[in-house]
Symmetry: C2
Subunit: 112 residues, 2 copies
């Protein structure tokens, strides 16, 4: 229905839940965020991403992955990229990252 939803396969698969409060100003964040999504989608095992942020700058992004190995490979790649940028300290006032194994999924589109 909306392309904001990730078209994930049947579980099990993995989710990286990233919740973050953005700092004021862009400071190169927009460019970086776009590049990160492009980078993730090329990564083996990438299943999709859902992302949203309110007007106060509080955002949640959930990326979905086929395996823990896929997450580890993507993280290494991303850490390298982020290290070349001004980095998390500038973009985020606070953040939490959680790695979780998706066990069940339901959706309206699937008729539930």
């Amino acid at each position: 229905m909306s392309n904001k939803f990730a078209r994930t396969p049947e579980p099990p698969y993995y989710a990286v839940i990233f919740s973050a409060q953005r700092t004021e100003g862009d400071n190169g964040y927009g460019d970086m965020a776009e590049r990160m999504v492009a980078l993730a989608s090329q990564q083996p095992g990438f299943l999709g991403i859902e992302s949203t942020r309110d007007e106060a700058g509080f955002g949640i992004s959930v990326s979905y992955w086929a395996s823990e190995e896929a997450i580890a490979a993507w993280k290494a790649n991303m850490d390298h990229q982020v290290a070349q940028q001004s980095g998390k300290r500038v973009w985020y006032a606070d953040y939490q990252l959680r790695v979780a194994k998706v066990e069940r999924a339901y959706g309206k589109s699937k008729g539930k």
Copy 2:
């Protein structure tokens, strides 16, 4: 730092990832959403919730739970409440719900 973050314990624990596109108009949604959060926080095993929505009405809410049993009890309670309301069909154009087991967590506040 921000009270928008859930203060979760060390993993493992569970996450319910709910991504949804809201329909136009309130239709009693605001009241219901508030009541649902209040209801969840009183539920045994509730660990916290993080929630955000963009201007186009695409939202992600992640609630955290101590166990699958806690999720099941909350879901039964919520289904009962929602059934008394106009319900999901009116509030959401589309949604996905995923139940996942959080295995690892990192945060800026923890110095990582």
